[in-house]
């Protein structure tokens, strides 16, 4: 008796498991591979693209270097790189198209009299070579370094631009941009970094080498704490039709709203 009941349930459950499958017939797909920092922007774009066209989209977060290699070896359609292509990579038949710029703003408490730092000083502060605000043109007070958790795209971006990878002496590692902004707004001696889109009035955005971070200065390259998000393709082999559609869509102005939503500045 009990066995029968059990069997019925198993049958019912297994039938419900398969309902809903089978209606996604996708012979076409786009595969991307590369920078983990681009996860957010490419994720949003891919999701919308997949919903609109029914072409399935995959993203393999491996890192810029692996992404570039994957394109070279033909293991994916589009490689994602959060650094410029090197000369030998270009010569080997790769082409980089800038999708967006990741601008990182250095923020301090509004009570802090410092309003400009050189890129070199930012690096010195974060590596612990400058520990007091008086050495950077401010009041006497220990500098409190606030950053993001290991693995965060913003941290990766900041550390690679300022050349401070694995050398930052953080006092706090927080898991969201919002937390960084809140902490900096609470401590007069704190310094932090956040993506341009997230910065609020509760903190003061510093100018770096005299240039304020705006969409314009990030795009024209005069604001230096920034890096490009690059789509890597091959020059000799054309993209598949699906990949071509995806490429055209994300580099068109239609995608700008989505790109901005993910916290970076669209390039096109």
């Amino acid at each position: 008796m009990k066995k029968n009941v059990f069997l019925t349930m198993v049958v019912v459950l297994s039938v419900t498991m398969f309902v809903g499958c089978g209606n996604k017939k996708s012979s076409r797909f786009v595969s991307t591979d590369g920078s983990t920092s681009m996860e957010k922007v490419i994720g949003i774009l891919g999701e919308v693209f997949q919903n609109d066209t029914g072409i399935s989209f995959t993203y393999n977060p491996t890192g810029s270097g692996s992404g570039i290699k994957a394109v070279q070896e033909g293991r994916c359609d589009i490689g994602l790189s959060s650094r410029k292509l090197k000369k030998d990579e270009m010569e080997s038949g790769l082409k980089g198209t800038v999708l967006a710029y990741d601008g990182i703003v250095i923020i301090v408490n509004p009570a802090n009299p410092v309003s400009d730092l050189s890129l070199e000083n930012v690096a010195k502060i974060y590596t612990g070579k400058i520990t007091n605000w008086s050495e950077a043109g401010g009041n006497n007070g220990d500098i409190i370094l606030i950053g993001r958790e290991a693995g965060s795209g913003t941290r990766d971006g900041f550390e690679s631009i300022t050349n401070t990878k694995d050398a930052c002496k953080y006092r706090q590692e927080l898991t969201s941009t919002g937390d960084v902004i809140t902490m900096v707004s609470q401590n007069p001696n704190a310094i932090g970094y956040a993506s341009l889109a997230a910065v609020k009035d509760s903190v003061k955005a510093l100018t770096v080498d005299g240039v304020a971070a705006t969409e314009e200065t990030i795009k024209n390259g005069s604001y230096v704490v920034q890096r490009p998000f690059i789509l890597v393709t091959k020059t000799d082999t054309p993209l598949s039709e699906a990949a071509q559609n995806f490429f055209a869509y994300i580099t068109s102005p239609d995608a700008n709203a989505l790109i901005s939503k993910s916290g970076v500045v669209p390039a096109n």
Binding site: M1, V5, G141, I144, A150, G151, D166, R171, L174, T175
Partner: protein, 314 residues
Amino acid sequence: MAKKKKTSTEQVIRSTEPQGINLDHRKKKQILENIVHGIFLLLGLIAVGCVLLITVYLFISGIPAIHKIGIVDFLFGREWASTAADPKYGILPFILTSIYGTAGAVILGVPIGFMTSVYLSKIASPRVKSVMQSAVSLLAGIPSVVYGLVGMLVLVPGIRKVFNVPDGAGLLAAIIVLAIMILPSIIKMSVTALDAVPKEYEDASLALGATPIETYFRVSVPAAKSGIAAAVVLGVGRAIGEAMAVMMVAGNVPNMPDSLFQSVRFLTTTVASEMAYSSGLQRQALFSVALVLFMFIMLINATLNFFLKRDGNK
């Protein structure tokens, strides 16, 4: 003889007719009973299945990294740098932080919780008791992210000003937040234990000339000690498993916890903050951290069961 036999069988047949319907009815009832029984069993098995699944999964995904890193290097390594070019996976700072943080929360929270529960159970008037108990329940219902937010906006700047340190986020802030978070579990369970002490015990003590306070601490509390111990263990379990609130106030830098104002990272927050972007050995190591945490929780649960069982056997 034969005739008589026939009539008796006839009688039997006649008498079984209504009985047959009855039997059928009973059989149907039995089937229904079995079905309901089966459904309940299945629902019960869901919980058991989940625990088994999580345990097995944690062991399977947690063991490889420990094996690769080496159990001594993993448990007693003093440095954690999971995303560095030359990664290091030592979780001693996290283990110590979790232990210190929980111990600190217990040192702060248990006296307050214990005294509050004695007051609520024995001294407070019914009206005060009901108001305070609903306040305690409310404290238990506040989401941990709210504790974290208040800690971030009030406690962290407060510690910075009061102790005149450069930054308030660290072990002390986490301890204070955890102490407040474990209060409700300690108070609720201790009050239940103290309420269950038979009135006769206290009456006898009072009749012998002991004052009420003497009676509460010499008679009621010892009589409820298993329940109170269980309440403390429950608090420990809550403190060691908390992630969200702690993550917002502790600073999260993997330092060894050698000062109260040090920015530290707990076992829970390590998993919570790094899992999202992790890959490869780092991800496996995070599962191993979770496994260590799971071991702690199992140990605490075993202790809790021990106290509760002792209470039950009495």
